[in-house]
Amino acid sequence: MRLIAAFFIGGLFGVGLLISGMTDTRKVIGWLDIFGDWDPTLAFVMGGAIIPMAIAWQIAARRAAPALGGTFPSPPEPRLGRNLVLGSVLFGMGWGLAGLCPGPAIASITWGGTGGAVFLVAMILGMVAAPPLKRSLQGRQTA
């Protein structure tokens, strides 16, 4: 049951990414192009997504457990830390260069052609390389 739910939720997420324009790198780069020909579409996407999710957090706060059991996620970690900023800057640079973030990169793989495949493989390599890099960064921080 959890698997079926996850499958269809992933699908709904993907169709949302497609319809909203998040899988279209021209729209994404247009949104990031604040000093050029700025395209505000992504603000509508973010707004449209944040409102239902904010309601969901309110509902979750009043419930003991998720519908299929288990527990709700713990409250957000208050500490910011260097990794959050460093990682977000690196991510933003990659997002600005190609116009794809992780969700749309996966959702568009069937129609993204060779470029889409190159992006996904490189992204996965980066994800595999991240934990050891993170450990060495933290090691230097505490040393």
Partner: protein, 141 residues
């Protein structure tokens, strides 16, 4: 333009409803980079099947919609070296920061998580600066 905004709003609502359902039904935060990242680096072996099911739906269902409409296009640059560097940065960055547009952006901001807000400010800021440098100054993108 107006039509783009309406599609943005509708698609955005679908993203938000998906995130809401993943929280209220499965009890999980719908963060794309965490879902794929913990699967490929094998850092969280429990619930791997659930994440794999999510990713399978994420590939197949929009893939079927795109096939049916025949209009989906990523308009990705033809410069594969640039794409590879970008992909590497996105993979590294989202895992170091522990989240991307869906996790920090949608799920974090909606519960007023300071980490989510700070991350979003930095990745949009860095993305904006990158477009300025690489599109307007260097003309690469």
């Amino acid at each position: 333009m107006l039509q783009d905004w309406i599609f943005g709003l509708i698609g955005g609502a679908m993203i938000g409803i998906a995130a809401a359902a993943y929280l209220l039904i499965n009890g999980r935060i719908m963060g794309a980079s965490g879902i794929i990242g913990t699967l490929v680096d094998r850092s969280a072996p429990e619930n791997g099947a659930e994440r794999l099911a999510f990713l399978t739906g994420l590939v197949l269902i929009p893939g079927a919609v795109a096939l049916a409409t025949g209009t989906a296009q990523t308009h990705l640059t033809g410069n594969f070296a640039l794409i590879a560097v970008a992909g590497l940065l996105v993979g590294l960055g989202t895992r170091i920061a522990n989240g991307c547009t869906s996790g920090h952006g949608v799920c974090g901001i909606s519960r007023l998580s300071l980490r989510g807000i700070v991350a979003t400010v930095f990745y949009i800021g860095a993305g904006g600066l990158t477009v300025v440098v690489f599109r307007h100054m260097l003309g690469w993108v």
